[in-house]
């Protein structure tokens, strides 16, 4: 075994991020900054209609415009009009209609790609779009999921003769029996609204043939260079070994860059066809309509319980909006939430049904949390409603039903085995930080005095599953890929270390955290460690970054590879020091003969010996490197308690978030400062769903929130200073004891906010408020409860 090494930069130290100097000094290399000689720029003619026949398309006029090199509709593009892939056919009878990069004969969403122009400047390409002649025959737009499933609805895809994509059922135990036994059954319909992953850096892609070889290099603002390479090879027919995919500096993703987009397919194919670099960068207007969206579920939730608050069963019936087409894991997103509706609670039965529905809207797919924010919202809201129904304090109801810390490992009704958790400890700490009792007293006072500004307290005691994923589990769910992660660690002749990871950061701080893991094991300072990532040419193996998997899975690979490197080095050091390997201990980056500290060899010196190969033991090959490809044993289950105090102005409906306390248990923390940053950003994004964000369409399928003036994203000015804390209950299924933190805040915070608003207004008769809880929405909920206007 390798003993952990204690350095100033080791695991657990809140050191500053190595990445930040570049970011702060404008030295980053965004995809749009890449300028290759001879580049042609692509501009896209997009459909202004949600559903229409293309009755005429003539791109020839564009070819006459200055600077234009080529122009294509689907007909001109022919075989190069590749289809956008979906890798998660969730049921055997799922309907998977074709999704050509350029629409053929019919458009199905506003923003569908109809034609492209390639020109020597972006301006020339955009100008030439006006010279394309296109006519549409408008068809009725399918915008409402329930209407879409009714007979007589227009069809998004005529050839499949239905708008139902799939029906997935997972019955666990006998819900009807639980319901029959129950004293209380509470049913609610929650709307988990459509969201747009508005990452800071818009999507951008450059593809270039690389001269003498057959290689095409693709730079893309993507979260998944490795997966993208495989998919682009399959879609374009370009041999995989001729494709190199690089994700340069990537400015955020939140799942929105976990995709194989039609624009990436077009740019790759056109670079090959034209034999020169092709570049496309989306505008913010395109981003809002053509980057995949998230959430958009109608959730019918029913909970059965005894009158003293014992939860017996849960029934979840979902309509999940696929949008117009299936993208990479569109159908699977609701299933990532499926296992988590029972959350931290013990119950006898759980019944899950999800129907995927096609509509004439932008396709949905993974967005920060992917399925788990939806499930957490539903369970945490319905538990509050149950508490109100039976007249029980909402935190008491939770305590009565949650899994106790001594009951772990615990197999839930949904069939998952949670390895560890301590909900009592996290909750106790959060309540103390929050001054729960003091705020409840203030709330009572405001109610008694009829204060126009009422106080609400929102609770969310959440858990989630992280660390996608055991490959066997993914296979059982019909996901067409594994969940392993790879790392190669190389000790270079000069003593520097290269950590090659298959994870692909886009803001998370992997370079720092991964260096800390390697530093702890190798005893090498963080500044001597270079993390190589996001380039299939330099880091060939990986499954990339999403689902809070990078540390939970990728971290294991770094640990294993680093430990293997030490063991390889130990054999060489023993040879050099003329002792047996078992006589050596590895201390602070150096092999020492036990009992004789004067006889030692540093790891860097061993690496030099491995390089010169002048004096290696028999059978040992030159160079010092080790690799590990790790398939995780199980998911990990971060949890926490989030508490919000909100002031609701009953005269205007405006909600002011006064205090936000969260205690997260993400297991062992490699860098607590990065953990805190992830929690802050995640909490803000979850609050944004509760209060600000929501994609709105009209009945014709036009996106109304088509600019950032209408799609409201909060800034620091709109949020209080969060008070974060943590407990540490290490995961037992992950060797580092880590669990994952990338999505925790987003998953937890949304129900805390809505629970708080309803809590502030429940005495007025309000039992729910739709998201986003805009002032007008809250005000109308109050008016309705009062029996006044709408």
């Amino acid at each position: 075994m390798t003993a952990a090494v204690e350095t100033d930069t080791a695991i657990g130290k809140p050191i500053r991020r190595k990445e930040d100097a570049h970011l702060l000094h404008g030295q980053t290399n965004w995809t749009d900054n890449i300028q290759l000689p001879g580049t042609v720029h692509m501009a896209i003619l997009r459909s202004p209609m949600a559903h229409a026949k293309i009755t005429k398309l003539d791109v020839s006029g564009a070819l006459k415009q200055p600077g234009v090199v080529a122009a294509y509709g689907a007909k001109e593009l022919g075989d190069l009009n590749g289809g956008v892939p979906c890798v998660w056919p969730v049921t055997d009878d799922i309907k998977m209609p074709a999704f050509p990069a350029l629409a053929i004969d019919k458009v199905r969403q506003v923003g569908d790609c109809v034609a492209v122009v390639l020109a020597t400047s972006v301006a020339a390409a955009v100008d030439a779009l006006d010279s394309i002649v296109v006519s549409y025959e408008q068809l009725p737009a399918v915008t409402d999921m329930e209407a879409a499933l009714g007979s007589g609805s227009a069809l998004v895809h005529d050839e499949i003769e239905t708008n139902a994509c799939y029906v997935y059922k997972m019955p666990c135990g006998d819900y009807e029996a639980s319901r029959a036994k129950a004293d209380v059954v509470v049913a609610r319909r929650f709307i988990n609204q459509r969201l747009i992953p508005t990452f800071m850096e818009p999507r951008s892609v450059v593809a270039a043939p690389m001269g003498m070889s057959d290689e095409i290099t693709i730079w893309s603002a993507t979260q998944i260079p490795h997966v993208l390479r495989v998919l682009l090879a399959l879609v374009t027919g370009i041999p995989e070994n001729n494709l190199r995919v690089v994700a340069p500096d990537v400015g955020g993703g939140f799942g929105g860059k976990l995709q194989c987009y039609r624009e990436e397919i077009l740019v790759t194919n056109l670079a090959k066809k034209l034999g020169r670099p092709v570049k496309w960068t989306e505008t913010r207007s395109e981003n809002l309509v053509a980057t995949h969206h998230g959430r958009d579920q109608i959730q019918d939730i029913e909970i059965a319980a005894t009158k003293d608050g014992k939860i017996l069963g849960l029934k979840v019936t979902l309509l999940a909006n696929m949008g117009a087409y299936l993208q990479i894991i569109t159908p699977g997103v609701p299933l990532l939430g499926m296992f988590m509706y029972p959350a931290i609670y013990k119950m006898d039965s759980y019944d899950f049904t999800c129907t995927g529905v096609f509509t004439n809207k932008t396709p949905t797919d993974a967005y920060r949390g992917a399925g788990r924010p939806e499930s957490t919202y539903a369970i945490e809201r319905i538990v509050d409603e149950l508490a109100a129904e039976i007249g029980m304090e909402p935190m008491e109801l939770r305590k009565k039903n949650w899994i106790k810390h001594e009951e772990f490992p615990f197999t839930t009704v949904a069939g998952l085995t949670y390895d560890t958790g301590n909900y009592e400890a996290a909750t106790e700490k959060a309540l103390a930080m929050f001054d729960y009792d003091g705020l409840r007293a203030e709330q009572a006072q405001r109610r008694a005095s009829g204060d126009p500004v009422q106080l609400g307290i929102g609770i969310s005691t959440f858990t989630e599953m992280c660390g996608l994923a055991p490959s066997r589990t993914l296979g059982a769910l019909k996901y067409v890929a594994g969940g392993w992660e790879h790392c190669t660690v190389r000790a270079l002749p000069t003593g520097k270390i290269e950590v090659v990871t298959g994870t692909s950061p886009h803001g998370q701080g992997h370079e720092t955290a991964w260096s800390q893991i390697a530093s702890s094991i190798l005893g090498v300072p963080v500044e001597d460690i270079e993390v190589i990532h996001s380039d299939t040419g330099r880091a060939p193996y990986g499954m990339d970054t999403y689902g809070s998997r990078s540390l939970a899975v990728g971290g294991q690979a770094i640990k294993a590879a680093s430990e293997r490197l030490v063991e390889k080095a130990r054999v060489i050091a023993a040879h050099q020091l003329e002792c047996s390997a078992s006589d050596l201990e590895f201390v602070n980056g150096s092999f020492q003969v036990k009992g004789d500290p004067s006889k030692s060899q540093a790891l860097g010196a061993v690496a030099f010996e491995a390089f010169t190969a002048h004096n290696l033991p028999p059978g040992v090959e030159p160079t010092l490197q080790a690799e590990a490809t790790i398939d995780p044993e199980d998911f990990s289950y971060p949890h926490g308690t989030h508490l919000a105090a909100l002031e609701v102005d009953t005269e205007t409906g405006q909600v002011k978030l006064r205090k936000y306390v969260c205690v997260d248990d993400v297991g062992m923390q490699v860098n607590p400062m990065i953990v805190e940053g992830q929690v802050h950003g995640g909490v803000a994004q979850g609050i944004a769903q509760a209060l600000f964000e929501g994609a709105e369409y009209d009945d014709d399928g036009n996106l109304l929130t088509a600019s950032l003036a209408d799609y409201l994203i909060p800034s620091a000015a709109d949020l209080p200073s969060f008070e974060t804390g943590s407990t540490v209950t290490p995961s037992t299924t992950h060797p580092l004891g880590t669990k994952g933190v990338g999505e925790a805040g987003t998953i937890a915070s949304t129900p805390a906010i809505i629970n708080g608003i309803v809590d502030a207004l429940r005495h007025l008769g309000v039992t729910d408020v739709a998201m986003p809880a805009a002032p007008q929405t809250v005000w109308r909920a109050i008016q309705t409860a009062k029996g006044g206007a709408k």
Partner: protein
């Protein structure tokens, strides 16, 4: 997005700017801070052939004391206006309204005169200008003229400034009444759903006179004249609330994503009462 190609003239005098406007014809457009115009150009909602930049004309920059009034050059940035000591002393309401415009980056680029000439019904500045009885100096081919606030705002994005004219400056009679600009919006950087600009003359705890401008309650900013009349003699919060019940009278509130008209009218009443209470100290 990328705007269509246009010619650009950086004017250094009013005369030069007027000449450039004239030679550009009806497709020419004035640009100052560009914070409203550039998004419109980038979305290709406007395709002007010539942009005449008035941001460098000395006469249009800065604030001066004219005795009974102060005069503000139309190309002075929002930041320049809100941080100016003459404005803070003699037209505090304008500083208060300007401070709520968008975010600091935009306030350092965007100009207060530009916002007035652009006349977006959701802009914060016109309501304050109405409440402060502002007058506007407009230069055109036939010379200069002065237009009173009540005659300046004509319709959606339409003012008394003609296509061949330039707003040079605007003047505000010195006002030491209590003031408040109360903006109701969803995020700190968002447009006003409703805004209320109030200046109130209080003597001995009684309101003698009030002038109130409303943002985003009609195609242009409007004065809440019924409220103003009802406030005379008000001396208690209840009096103010009662007077503010008239805030939506005569307005033409519209419906959009953030507010239906009835909610907007309700907000006008609530926010007017709050603005008057803040301005009057009652």
């Amino acid at each position: 997005m990328i705007p269509v190609e246009f010619d650009y003239v950086k004017a250094t005098s009013i005369d030069q700017a007027l000449a450039a406007l004239k030679s550009g014809g009806e497709d020419s457009k004035i640009i100052s801070g560009g914070q409203s115009l550039l998004p419109v150009l980038r979305l290709r909602m406007a395709e002007p052939s010539v942009l005449v930049d008035c941001g460098g004309i000395d006469e249009m920059l800065g604030v001066r004391d004219d005795g009974d009034s102060i005069t503000i050059g139309a190309a002075t940035t929002h930041h320049g206006v809100m941080s100016n000591s003459l404005v803070q002393k003699h037209a505090l309401l304008l500083a208060q309204a300007t401070a709520t415009v968008a975010d600091p980056a935009i306030r350092h680029r965007g100009t207060t005169g530009g916002a007035l000439a652009h006349a977006d019904p959701a802009s914060d500045i016109p309501a304050a200008a109405l409440a402060l009885d502002t007058s506007f100096v407009i230069a055109g081919p036939g010379g200069r003229r002065t237009v009173a606030a009540k005659d300046f705002f004509l319709d959606y994005f339409t003012t008394a400034v003609g296509p061949d004219e330039i707003l040079v400056s605007f003047s505000i009679p010195k006002c030491d009444w209590g003031s408040s600009y109360s903006k109701f919006n969803r995020t700190a950087q968002a447009w006003a759903i409703v805004g209320v600009a109030a200046v109130v003359n209080v003597q001995g705890g009684v309101i003698k006179e009030a002038r109130i401008g409303l943002t985003n309650m009609a195609p242009t900013a409007v004065r809440a004249s019924t409220v103003e009349a009802a406030l005379v003699g008000a001396s208690s919060p209840a009096d103010i609330t009662a007077a503010a019940m008239h805030a939506a009278d005569g307005t033409r509130a519209t419906s959009d994503l953030h507010a239906q008209a009835d909610y907007r009218e309700h907000l006008a009443r609530v926010i007017t009462a709050r603005a008057v209470r803040a301005a009057s100290g009652i």
